[in-house]
Amino acid sequence: MVINIEGLDFAYGAGKQTVPVLKNINLTFPEGQITAIIGQTGSGKSTLVQQLNALLKPTAGEVHIGDHTVTNKTKEKALTPIRAEVGMVFQFPESQLFAPTVIEDVMYGPKNFGATDEEAKQAAEKALAKVGFDTSLYDQSPFNLSGGQMRRVALAGVLAMNPQTMVFDEPAAGLDPQGQAELLDLLRTLRDEGKTIVLISHQMEQVLALANQVVVMKDGQVAAHEPVEELFARPQSWFADQHLDLPETIAFQKEMEKQGFVFDHLAKTVDDLAKQLAGQLDSAKLTGQRSDQAGSQAQTGGPHHE
């Protein structure tokens, strides 16, 4: 399912007291890819993603979500089916838990979209298994769980509806490192299943590791929209202008380039970076013979690792 935004403007409020937030947005979210949205707080990221499942309707312009078109005039009733197709995981989604037991909470979504109790239960169990939730806790109250477990239940609550597209608003915020790693794995799995994923994140490492393409928001406008490799190839000063950081590996790479090193591609992981660096250093250096020219030598001919 492709989501396509055409000429979208959005303002909060009505009448005289409107606050314009989004201005002239044109974007396409390709099927089966992970699109990351980055930008300062207040740049309009969350407002933008709320257009994707029609929680907000555009003030002007159109949003095409699969076969649905949402404009300013679309009736509220026509919007509900869209939410079955585009799942939305809000920031700190554990605050939406309400049911007496974990399993009931996860069943809530499927049941709203017409599943029978039996179907909903199956969907819920499948979703809970996917987020690695312990089977023995299904009948626990969600309010007795740890923060990390609550997050899993909330995620499962959206997964259980089996939406074609999923939107995540800073899903890893407040998770421990292991929880974050597991979450990233989950996003990859979902992508590999062919789901379209939209991810808001402040962690550039996450964006680098996951995203196919990146949308950079600034003051309610799209400042950049391109493949992740192209984006991070931009100069450091551009990122400073957007008040964004570079991922650590790439920041390091760029510093090394200033010292005369030349890399053939952006390092996505520490491992990748280490391999590329090793390729740059000549064997003489590695055997311990100090070479005074090594630093200033622009080495391009070293063995290339992938």
Partner: protein, 266 residues
């Protein structure tokens, strides 16, 4: 949700913004109190003129006030229907089976609408021009005499200002949870009444859990900053009585005298 105007402060300028909040509260109380005794067209007209003058002094668009009235329209309609149907008296204007509309009923209904709207608009003017914290400290100041009979005025005022402080927070929270549950297919506008009432549970439970958690956090935050008693705390903004307040008292006095005179004319 954010369309709720009652209880909302809207920044602006003018005499109503400069006035001491105590003055504004007293004026509102006097106005509402008098309005209860309004008994004729002229008294309502006089009250309406006073209100319109106050409205204009806030320099806010009329659309804002219309949005303030809108959420309570159904309440007004409900009272009006009750008045129309159960007032009794003669002459009967309209009858259909057991349903009977009489002239006193109709007049009462119109009075009720006008009274409702005037009271709501006057309180809206108070809250639109006065930040919640100012209202809280004004109430504390006005209740001070009660200290003599051991009423914990400072604590009450602090509780009130915390409660007011929580209103926009809870509204934001409600909006967020509503959106999350809507994303999971919640619909509050379809199905039978029973079904709709049930549909609110996924909204209310997280809201209460969140509010209690926030209350705990706030209590801890206050304790670690050395909170012991609300008594004897100093203020960032001291209340002060000025020329504008004298003017206001003169205005409300003129209104009250006029009102009483008109109600005796009858």
């Amino acid at each position: 949700m954010n369309n709720l105007v009652i209880g909302q402060f809207v920044p602006g300028s003018g005499i109503l913004y400069r006035m001491d909040p105590r003055t504004k509260i007293l004026m509102t109380i006097v106005y509402v109190f008098l309005l209860v005794f309004a008994n004729s067209w002229v008294t309502y007209l006089w009250s309406a003129i006073f209100l319109v003058a106050a409205l204009l002094l806030t320099k806010q668009g009329l659309g804002l006030y219309w949005r303030g009235i809108k959420p309570i329209l159904w309440l007004i309609l409900f009272t009006v229907v009750l008045q129309l149907l159960f007032s009794g008296g003669t002459p009967v204007l309209f009858q259909w089976g057991a349903i009977k509309v009489t002239e006193p009923g109709l007049i009462n209904a119109i009075y009720v609408i006008v009274r409702f709207v005037l009271i709501v608009l006057m309180s809206t003017i108070l809250t639109i021009t006065t930040p919640p914290t100012a209202i809280a400290s004004a109430i504390e100041s006005l209740l001070k005499p009660l200290k003599a009979i051991k009423v914990p005025v400072a604590e009450l005022a602090l509780m009130l200002s915390i409660a007011l402080r929580f209103v926009p927070l809870l509204m934001g929270e409600t909006d967020k949870i509503m959106k999350a549950q809507k994303s999971r297919g919640m619909s509050l506008s379809t199905g039978s009444l029973m079904k709709r009432a049930k549909a609110v549970i996924p909204l209310l439970v997280p809201l209460f859990v969140g509010a209690l958690q926030r209350a705990l956090d706030l209590a801890n935050a206050m304790e670690v900053r050395g909170f012991e008693s609300a008594e004897g705390r100093t203020r960032y903004r001291e209340l002060s009585y000025g020329r504008d307040d004298t003017l206001a008292f003169v205005a409300i006095a003129v209104f009250a005298i006029g009102f009483l005179a008109l109600s005796f004319i009858k």
